[in-house]
Subunit: 443 residues, 2 copies
């Protein structure tokens, strides 16, 4: 994959080169290159794409990028593109768009598409309703396989998928699902009811999209039926959308775990201001929390003045405690995300992490003893070694427990992970260190 | 979902209760509960499952858990289960199994299944070949839609999927793909060649499974054709396997980013020893690296003895530098993983992160100035504020660049992320702090 070829061709106004490059590359590669260009220069190659290719490329873009491209288009091209989008993709883009864009988009839609989009936008943010497709091909339960195949033949062309076919009763309540494969491989006279998996998982439209997507991963479904509070079918979560939901959730978790909000859109395209803003609040909170370490050290200032050598090991101890805490926090955040740990496991996690921390602390204490003895002498080395054992098991316990406590308090566990734990452990680690020093050195 | 109901029922030897619970719950929930029990107690409920349900549950388990369950089964049940597994799932389990288990499994297979499994195991670890399904239904390019549907009807029942149908030429070379939907909705006489997407993405069996899975996410495919070096079709990567590959890769990245190896199997089931082992190496490496901070402080020991108050801000500065570095490192690791940043973006990332760090540093300096003045006085407050600006922009730059350098050196970028960066930034941050102190205070 040539790096930035498209940008270079555009910059040199080599339109033939741009056309050739667009012909030779698949939509997702073109979308990737467009996302790396600024909105104005991305318009040039985008306008050169034939209509159907333009749609394919457009669908691969992130909502932020879609919206910026749209604003550069004239009414006709704008309307065509917006009308052709899948309703769920359109809803996702509209949600992030400024009101001005949203109004222009909605005004340009056919009444049918307008209705579907408005319905999706009515669901809460982060819910399945927002990302599902409302265009499922549903089958009445009383059909035969042959009749059902006729329904698919009639209505399949317009639907996002025909591989998951919800089966419903007379009140549009979900009975189960079948699929094109099951219908196609069965004798034509076989009742659809016999080919229907009635035990299939289902979710409410208002439930969390991330939970629904992880459920799909666990159950290996290509489409998960979405129902309303009366069990009536309202849509399908398709696997490609579920994969995007999982990836977005993992990106968000990764950002949160480093003490930052997820940055908006493409990393290379986000402005320096946007990147700084996504990190500023956390960094501020953390530095305010870190002033606690200054207070702690002030309390022990007399000890510190008496034995300055104690200061030498502050970064090492604070750093190691932070690392041990971060390891434990990351492990439980991830285990919670993929469903291996539940809120009710709190006490068991405390007990596990405390022992893991003790083991690790004992191992590190040996290193600390050697390093300390070589660099400053046996007394302080002993203080460092003993502190390491206590700090490690304390840090691992705090790190393991905080995400579970957050989960119980209905806060995103990723929020209270690595940096939060580290900062907490820093101050308490210093207290442990100086109390140990006082006890061992008798100062 | 009741918590640990199954375990409690088993512990009380309430077999009727266990049977009822097994009847009422879907396979993925049963698998989840079994994974939370130890191997011996999990055997009891597993043996109570009817044969087809047992297979469904077995397929939902992680390879480690599968292998432990298998070892508790008698030959007949063992053979049935192993023969019925999908070849790619079997290969994955065998790869992690001890040689004794692997031999017993391979010996019990039919020659056909044995051949397929051996072929998959011949591909390198982490490659697409290991996780693809070799059982695709391929269509010769010269068929009509109607003839192709006949092929699917004949061979579809045994295949993992019929929704992605690779089209091949006389030498089994991949021409493109079509799907059951396209064939089914087309007139029977239409040539398959006209229904084939010849521009479809394809990967070599030896390429990275993670890259292939991310490509599937980008292209929204349900099945990605896998070819050998001569472009002959050897299998299909199906979307459900791709989702698992992505989730496993993200779990691994999350662990690596906190300075730990991924723990083996289920978090609650891994032993305390296993958890400690997955973190020990990194923690040791990091503490050895952290002794650098002791050396740095020794160099400035005279300054520290003269102005003990300088010691008060060491954890705050070191912590903030670490946080700023971790934020940048996590952002670029993730951006690399999802393909938003490439190795060639190195200089642009340096320039972005350096400015982001400066902005953040300036903001934090204001806080540092206030806190410092209140707690210790203006002079040291000025030292802290100036140090914060320099440390933040340095930390963000190092954090942003290290993962890209790692990528260029073909090391997993996640390995050199948060804790590694933090430890590096700790020592250099102290140098910045004390040099600033000397300059400002004139000591």
């Amino acid at each position: 994959m040539g790096t930035d070829v498209l940008r270079r061709l555009s910059d040199h106004e080599d339109l033939d080169g741009v056309r050739r490059w667009l012909d030779e590359n698949p939509p997702h590669v073109i979308a990737d290159e467009l996302a790396r260009m600024d909105a104005v220069s991305a318009m040039v190659p985008f306008r050169l794409l034939p209509k159907d290719r333009a749609l394919a490329v457009f669908e691969e873009l992130e909502p932020v990028d879609q919206q910026q491209l749209l604003m550069g288009l004239r009414d006709q091209a704008f309307g065509d593109l917006v009308e052709a989008m899948d309703p769920d993709d359109r809803a996702r883009m509209l949600h992030e768009a400024p009101a001005k864009v949203a109004r222009r988009v909605l005004a340009g839609l056919s009444p049918d598409e307008q209705r579907m989009t408005a319905a999706l936008l009515g669901y809460p943010e982060g819910s399945v309703g927002r990302v599902m497709t409302p265009e499922a091909v549903t089958l009445p339960r009383h059909l035969t396989a042959g009749q059902a195949l006729e329904v698919v033949r009639e209505r399949g062309a317009g639907a996002e998928t025909v591989y998951t076919l919800p089966v419903v009763d007379g009140e549009r309540r979900l009975v189960g699902v079948t699929g094109l494969r099951e219908l196609f491989l069965a004798p034509a006279g076989r009742p659809v009811a016999e080919l229907t998996d009635t035990g299939v998982a289902r979710v409410r439209a208002t439930e969390s999209a991330e939970d629904a997507a992880r459920l799909m991963r666990e159950t290996n479904l290509l489409g998960l039926p979405v129902v309303d509070s009366e069990d009536r079918l309202v849509g399908l979560l398709t696997i490609d959308d579920a994969v995007e939901v999982i990836e977005a959730a993992d990106t968000e978790d990764a950002a949160r775990q480093s003490g930052a909000d997820p940055w908006p859109g493409h990393y290379m395209f986000a402005s320096v201001w946007q990147l700084a803003r996504s990190r500023a609040v956390w960094l501020l909170l953390l530095i305010v929390a870190a002033t606690l370490t200054v207070n702690v050290l002030q309390i022990f200032e007399a000890t510190l003045e008496e034995v300055t050598a104690l200061a030498l090991f502050i970064p090492l101890l604070v750093g190691t405690g932070g690392n041990a805490g971060a390891q434990a926090a990351t492990a439980t955040v991830r285990a919670l995300a993929v469903g291996e740990v539940r809120g009710s496991d709190l006490l068991r996690v405390v007990w596990r992490e405390c022992r893991v921390g003790l083991l690790l602390g004992a191992m590190l204490a040996a290193v600390g003893m050697v390093v300390g003895t070589v660099l400053v002498g046996g007394d302080i080395a002993l203080v460092v070694a003993v502190s390491l054992v206590i700090i490690c098991s304390w840090a691992a316990t705090v790190g393991g427990v905080m995400p579970l406590l957050a989960k119980r308090l209905r806060i995103d566990p990723a929020v209270v992970s690595a940096p939060m734990v580290t900062t907490l452990v820093d101050a308490s680690g210093l207290i442990i260190y100086f109390l140990t020093a006082r006890a061992v050195l008798g100062v």
